[in-house]
């Protein structure tokens, strides 16, 4: 187990969403839509995950002219392992139920 995250149901939902297609990059708004978590809660969790090196980020090249570059997120290799452990642990303790079968 790596650095422990302060686990909240919202953090677990985000981890689960990031694990659905773990090698793919995710947008912030898409994560918010999938988890139902508002931006005011989503970004602090992402910032914390990045600080703990569970998450890697990059700027997307703008697809359309006049649109700003978007920020992309995905779990690091270790992040994926630790995220799965956290989700299984939370599931065992019955504090969280998976929303996706892929998690």
């Amino acid at each position: 187990m790596g650095i422990r995250l302060r686990i909240s149901p919202q953090s677990l939902s985000i981890l689960e969403a990031l694990l659905v297609r773990p090698t793919q990059w995710h947008h912030g708004y898409a994560l918010s839509q999938h988890t139902g978590i508002a931006s005011g809660t989503l970004y602090p969790i992402l910032m914390r995950l990045e600080k703990l090196r569970w998450l890697e980020t990059k700027w997307e090249e703008p697809k359309n002219a006049g649109r700003p570059p978007r920020h992309l997120y995905r779990l690091t290799g270790n992040g994926r392992v630790w995220a799965r452990e956290e989700l299984q642990d939370a599931q065992k303790r019955k504090v969280w139920k998976p929303a996706y079968s892929g998690a």
């Binding site: 508002a38 931006s39 005011g40 978007r70």
Partner: protein
């Protein structure tokens, strides 16, 4: 990364709510703290993908919450940065590699400054600082300049309280005003007639009382030797007796036309049943006024107490010698009763001066007169009254024990404390100015890169690291140096039964008024050695700092 939404041709085609959301998001990003601004841009970029006004509103609401959270975090994080270091950039690298920026976290600087301010606001420290500042600008001798006395003057004018008038009389440095105020106080309450006794100053500007005042004082307190000595002193000062007795007392004293007048006045004084120098009344007056005007402490005491009248030592001493001379002459003529009477007169007066409320100098005068008389009286009594001769051995032994040297040692310790207090106060003044100056310079230079900063910000960066802790240490030093003296004065004011000795009290109230220059000029070897050592050390430190600053090569971080 571009942080602004680019205005393109499609911008005009966007609905109004999207334009509005974009404008709000721009403001949010602009207000976002520098160190996490990328996250603000990430939040902003998502807004362009939202197609529902309601979702956009929710996204913006979350953004506002995020902004608030980040501003709070940034505010608390800023405590960890030194003053004048911007939030963006690698702080650790900047402070490690560059010698041109401050290194102390601003929370530490702020804590030192706040702690110093808290100490400086302490009443004792404020009193010490005010007194020292007054001694620096040398206005402690000129009470008319004291702003703290203005209120008392106004109150005295409006209430006509004899206490205030009496105290203002004691505090006045103007002769005419001093006497006018004394007259007003005495007219309102004759129990303040003693103020005229203090109107004969013991300092160099001695002003004899006129005959009318003297008569008023004598009729108010006719049995007081201290008052009766005033008349004799007036004659003594204005006659040639002083010159005649320069090399000792002999019969030539009678050549002075005022001799008989002086002898009569001195005989009255020496025959008086009690001796009261009114110091207890001065103390009570100071206590009464301080109770209602604490802002005057301890300056009023520092002014009044050392100026309390003490009798003319020479006048008393000459008369004591004259009595002994008369006694010896009577012995030679075989008139032992007359001889004994002369000696006893001197001894009785000396015993009066042994009271606890007399000053050390008065007790020393008494001892000098008494010892001389007893040495002649004892052999006389051994022949006729051996028991009385034995009894006289007691005051003789006591007078021999009165040693002025502990008093001198006490004053030496006061002078030492006074010197340290002045240095602590000077340090506070200097370090406070340097702290403020260095902070202004560092804040002004915060946009410049460490490598391109000039010499002034480099000095300021050193000062901002060093001055707040030194200011704190100086404030602590001032508190601990002055606290014992504040306690002595507090005991004097509030617990008369446990009042400190006169010398302790005068030292405690005067300790903040000792001028550095006077101390250096009149000080002993230890003072001068201390001064010289401190000066040399300060010069060495300045030289080292100058060399260090000159050698500092600015290095670019990274």
């Amino acid at each position: 990364v571009n942080n602004e939404l680019t205005n393109d041709t499609s911008n005009n085609a966007r609905p109004l709510w999207q334009k509005f959301s974009a404008a709000i998001a721009n403001v949010i990003v602009r207000l976002w703290p520098d160190e996490t601004k990328d996250w603000g841009r990430a939040f902003q970029a998502e807004l362009t993908e939202i197609e529902s006004p309601w979702q956009s509103f929710r996204w913006l609401l979350g953004g506002l919450m995020l902004l608030t959270r980040e501003r709070f975090k940034s505010f608390f994080r800023s405590f960890g940065r030194p003053v004048g270091i911007p939030a963006s950039g690698n702080l650790e690298l900047i402070t490690k590699q560059s010698s041109q920026v401050p290194r102390t976290p601003r929370i530490v600087t702020a804590l030192f400054l706040l702690a110093s301010a808290a100490i400086l606001l302490h009443p004792e420290v404020r009193t010490a600082f005010r007194s020292i500042a007054r001694s620096f600008i040398n206005s402690d001798e000129e009470t008319s300049r004291w702003s703290s006395l203005h209120q008392l003057r106004k109150e005295a004018e409006s209430t006509h309280d004899p206490k205030f008038l009496a105290l203002l009389s004691l505090l006045s440095t103007d002769d005419a005003e001093r006497l006018r105020l004394a007259d007003q106080a005495i007219a309102l309450d004759p129990s303040f007639t003693w103020v005229d006794y203090e109107n004969v100053r013991s300092n160099s500007s001695r002003t004899p009382l006129d005959a009318k005042r003297l008569a008023r004082l004598e009729s108010w307190d006719p049995e007081n030797a201290a008052v009766l000595l005033l008349s004799a002193e007036n004659v003594f000062e204005s006659s040639i007796i002083k010159d005649l007795t320069y090399k000792g007392v002999d019969a030539s004293l009678m050549k002075d036309p005022h001799a008989s007048e002086w002898l009569a006045a001195m005989n009255r004084a020496f025959a008086a049943p009690r001796y009261d120098n009114y110091s207890a009344r001065v103390d009570q007056l100071l206590r009464d006024v301080s109770a209602t005007h604490p802002e005057l402490d301890p300056d009023i005491a520092a002014f009044v107490l050392p100026r309390e009248r003490i009798p003319n030592l020479w006048n008393v001493r000459v008369f004591g010698q004259w009595l002994v001379l008369q006694g010896k002459e009577a012995e030679q003529q075989g008139d032992l009763t007359e001889a004994s009477n002369n000696y006893w007169t001197a001894v009785r007066f000396s015993v009066l001066l042994r009271q606890t409320n007399t000053f050390t100098i008065e007790r020393l005068i008494g001892a000098a007169v008494g010892k001389d008389a007893i040495l002649h009286l004892q052999p006389l009594l051994e022949k006729t009254q051996p028991r009385q001769a034995e009894i006289l051995a007691y005051p003789l032994a006591e007078w021999s024990r009165i040693d002025p040297s502990p008093w001198r040692d006490l004053w030496a310790s006061f002078e030492w404390s006074g010197l340290n207090l002045q240095l602590a106060a000077t340090s506070i003044f200097v370090f406070a100015i340097f702290s403020a100056f260095s902070m202004v310079v560092s804040l002004a230079a915060r946009r410049a890169s460490p490598g391109s900063r000039g010499a002034l910000p480099a000095v300021a960066s050193w000062a901002i690291d060093a001055c707040p802790p030194l200011l704190f240490l100086s404030s602590v030093a001032l508190y601990f140096l002055y606290h014992p003296f504040a306690q002595i004065y507090g005991r004097y004011l509030h617990t008369p039964s446990n009042s400190p000795s006169r010398e302790q009290l005068e030292g405690a109230v005067s300790v903040t008024h000792l001028s550095l220059f006077r101390l250096f000029m009149s000080g002993e070897f230890t003072f001068r050695f201390w001064f010289a050592t401190t000066t040399i050390l300060v010069l060495v430190v300045i030289a080292l700092l100058a060399r260090m600053l000159l050698r500092r090569q600015p290095t670019q971080p990274g």
